[in-house]
């Protein structure tokens, strides 16, 4: 009985003392960089355990709400050159354009279409945005352990200015390094996607997950993104993140 009381007391104390926004802002602050580059290998595993491999190259300039990113497929061969430009904003949803070399044309990804899966992976277009704390309200729920690491479990709800397919998300943030351990995205009470972050390493002072397992609950499929050749703060030019640059292939 006394253990239960102690636990209840600890949790109440925790919930009263810690502002979840501060947790998220600290997490965001610790991942602020001028730029990021990595090569990603994606293994898409469908409900029948059939595996498809894809690869992309990711470049980002700026951080979070003020960042711009270009994601360009490098494999399989037939989608080589297909690219997505994401312009993130601190106060609203991102702008996104997709470049398809076969058409020599870019196409804007409309807000209402962001729940669509991105090129057969389990990531939706919305999942490729950078989250910015200013676009969400937070509520600290509890402390839980993910992969043996103690985490804060925080509920995040998009503000009105943020158009989202998810009504709310649960975020697990590691207490030791403020890195994300897991995110569950819900539409009302239905789990839509779960992103599980693992192989978390310190790269240039930034704790980074080198593996993200995105699970689509409805399709029961997974996409495992392995992050390789990760570099932060590499020199990048702002003009490499425009619609015109999207059509430049290398």
């Amino acid at each position: 009985m006394s253990r239960v009381l102690t636990a209840v007391f600890n949790i109440s104390f925790l919930l009263l003392q810690i502002d979840p926004r501060q947790i998220l802002e600290e997490s965001q602050r610790r991942t602020m960089t001028q730029s990021q580059h990595y090569e990603g290998t994606l293994r898409v595993i469908d409900a029948k355990s059939k595996i498809t491999e894809k690869r992309w190259q990711y470049d980002r300039i700026g951080s979070h709400g003020s960042s711009k990113a270009v994601l360009r497929f490098t494999a399989p061969a037939e989608v080589k050159g297909v690219a997505l430009l994401v312009l993130n904003h601190p106060d609203r949803s991102s702008d996104q354009w997709m470049w398809t070399p076969a058409l020599n044309r870019d196409r804007r990804i409309a807000l209402q279409d962001r729940s669509t899966r991105f090129f057969g992976t389990d990531f939706s277009f919305e999942d490729l945005e950078e989250r910015d704390t200013n676009q969400f309200d937070f509520r600290l729920l509890s402390e839980e352990s993910i992969d043996g690491a103690s985490c804060w479990k925080v509920q995040s709800t998009p503000r009105q200015t943020k158009v989202s397919q998810y009504t709310h998300s649960y975020l697990w943030i590691r207490e030791d390094n403020y890195a994300f351990a897991q995110i569950e995205n819900y539409n009302k009470d239905q789990l839509v996607r779960r992103a599980h972050y693992s192989d978390i390493r310190n790269d240039q002072g930034i704790w980074t997950a080198h593996q993200i397992d995105m699970h689509d609950a409805k399709r029961n499929s997974h996409t495992i993104l392995r992050i390789e050749k990760l570099q932060y703060n590499v020199p990048m030019k702002d003009d490499a993140f425009t619609r015109e640059a999207l059509s430049r292939e290398s």
């Binding site: 059939k50 399989p76 804007r108 209402q112 290398s250």
Partner: protein, 417 residues
């Protein structure tokens, strides 16, 4: 650029670029494919009794960036076929003015310089304007290969392009010194539907009168919650009109049919607006001409788009209003032929490797219908097989209906690298 010597020089340059790519392997990307396409037509056409057509295409594209501000892009096509749609004599073509597809072609060769918000590109390259699908009235620098009318591919244009992109605004100016026409169906093949003539009258292809002057255009695009664009083009229609001159010969009347490409001025625009349910797109253009033989007309398209789960839908209407009829005998104008038409496109992604697409165009008077369904399957990392079924029906007097004998099944196998 038209001489054989220039083509050789350009080819040499392309190969030098590709060869030097080893020195810059970190900034060189390449891709390409080998594709074989087999088309089966159940019906014979009056001018073409073949039921099957086989084609193979090898395409190689390379992109070299010797510095962070410069990019060189090159692409080569090599083709063969069973139906003489491809020239049999080897020649590396630059011009894209041949009646048949060239056996070898420099598909693209361009240099791009960019600094800050400025981009300058020159050479042979692709320029796409407009936002709508299937019919794109403002897409004036985009001639196509229409040898098989409903299965067409874009041709590059020789041009200089200046682009300024700053924040939410983009201004682009294009100047093309040399005209690139669309490639039209070959007269003795099924996609050229010739008129039925009384006995004693024959048609003779009198060739083409290619215009010699330059073309130019400019557009301004604004991106925001509502995206819109205004565009202007001055040049020539890349789709031909026809003049006919009758001549009396010993065997009867011979009509010389000559292609010409009328001068046009286009003023147009497009708009895209997102709502919580769908994206609304509109595009319209007015075409005026100083050539009395050509029609003056307006084209417009209104379409709705939506993606939902694994489905995407595009549906709309394309319309036309003739403001001044011309005196020419006939046109080959797929863009106008697909107006007064309801257009639709839907696709479903079955899984990471398989998808199906349906496309349809139905004339509002019901005189022409085109329906295409396509199943595509990616096998491993390199192979893709596609099965395409196309049904065309309608009346001979209708743009779509005239191809009612050309319903077909197509199998495409592609190896990409």
């Amino acid at each position: 650029m038209g001489g054989t010597g220039n083509v050789r020089a350009l080819t040499l340059l392309l190969f030098v670029l590709l060869a030097t790519s080893n020195c810059y392997s970190q900034t060189y990307t390449q891709r390409g494919f080998l594709e074989t396409k087999n088309t089966f037509y159940p019906q014979e056409a009056p001018n073409d009794r073949a039921h099957t057509v086989g084609e193979s295409l090898f395409r190689y594209e390379g992109f070299l960036s010797p510095t962070s501000s410069v990019q060189l892009a090159g692409a080569l096509d090599f083709r063969i076929d069973t139906h003489r749609q491809v020239d049999r004599d080897f020649q590396l073509s630059w011009q894209d003015r041949e009646i048949r597809r060239p056996l070898g072609e420099i598909r693209r060769l361009s240099a791009t310089y960019h600094k800050g918000p400025l981009t300058f590109e020159m050479g042979k390259h692709f320029i796409r304007w407009g936002k709508s699908d299937i019919v794109t009235p403002t897409d004036r620098f985009a001639p196509r290969d229409f040898l098989a009318v409903v299965d067409n591919d874009f041709l590059a244009v020789t041009a200089a392009r200046f682009n300024f992109e700053k924040g939410t605004n983009t201004i682009e100016a294009v100047w093309s010194p040399r005209f690139t026409p669309s490639r039209i169906p070959i007269p003795n093949q099924r996609w050229a539907v010739l008129p039925e003539l009384p006995p004693g009258i024959t048609l003779r292809d009198a060739g083409a009168a290619f215009p010699g002057g330059p073309q130019s255009g400019a557009r301004w695009n604004h991106t925001g919650a509502i995206e819109y664009e205004l565009s202007f083009y001055q040049g020539f229609n890349h789709l031909p009109s026809f003049d006919a001159v009758p001549r009396f010969t010993s065997s009867g009347i011979q009509v010389d049919v000559r292609r010409f490409y009328p001068k046009i001025i286009m003023v147009g625009g497009d708009i895209a607006a997102s709502t919580p349910w769908f994206t609304l797109k509109g595009e319209a253009a007015q075409f005026n001409s100083s050539d009395d033989r050509a029609d003056e007309y307006a084209l417009y398209v209104i379409q709705l788009e939506r993606q939902s789960g694994e489905w995407f839908f595009v549906g709309g209407y394309a319309g036309e209003a003739i403001t001044r009829p011309g005196t020419r005998v006939a046109d080959f104008a797929p863009d106008r032929g697909l107006t007064k038409t309801l257009l639709g496109r839907a696709g479903y992604t079955i899984d990471a490797n398989r998808n199906i697409v349906f496309e349809a165009a139905v004339r509002q008077n019901g005189e022409g219908v085109w329906v295409k369904s396509e199943y595509s399957h990616l096998l491993g990392l390199h192979w893709r097989a596609t099965l395409n079924l196309t049904l065309i029906s309608g009346n001979t007097g209708d743009f779509l209906g005239q191809y009612h004998r050309n319903s077909h099944a197509m199998i495409v196998v592609r190896y990409s690298f």
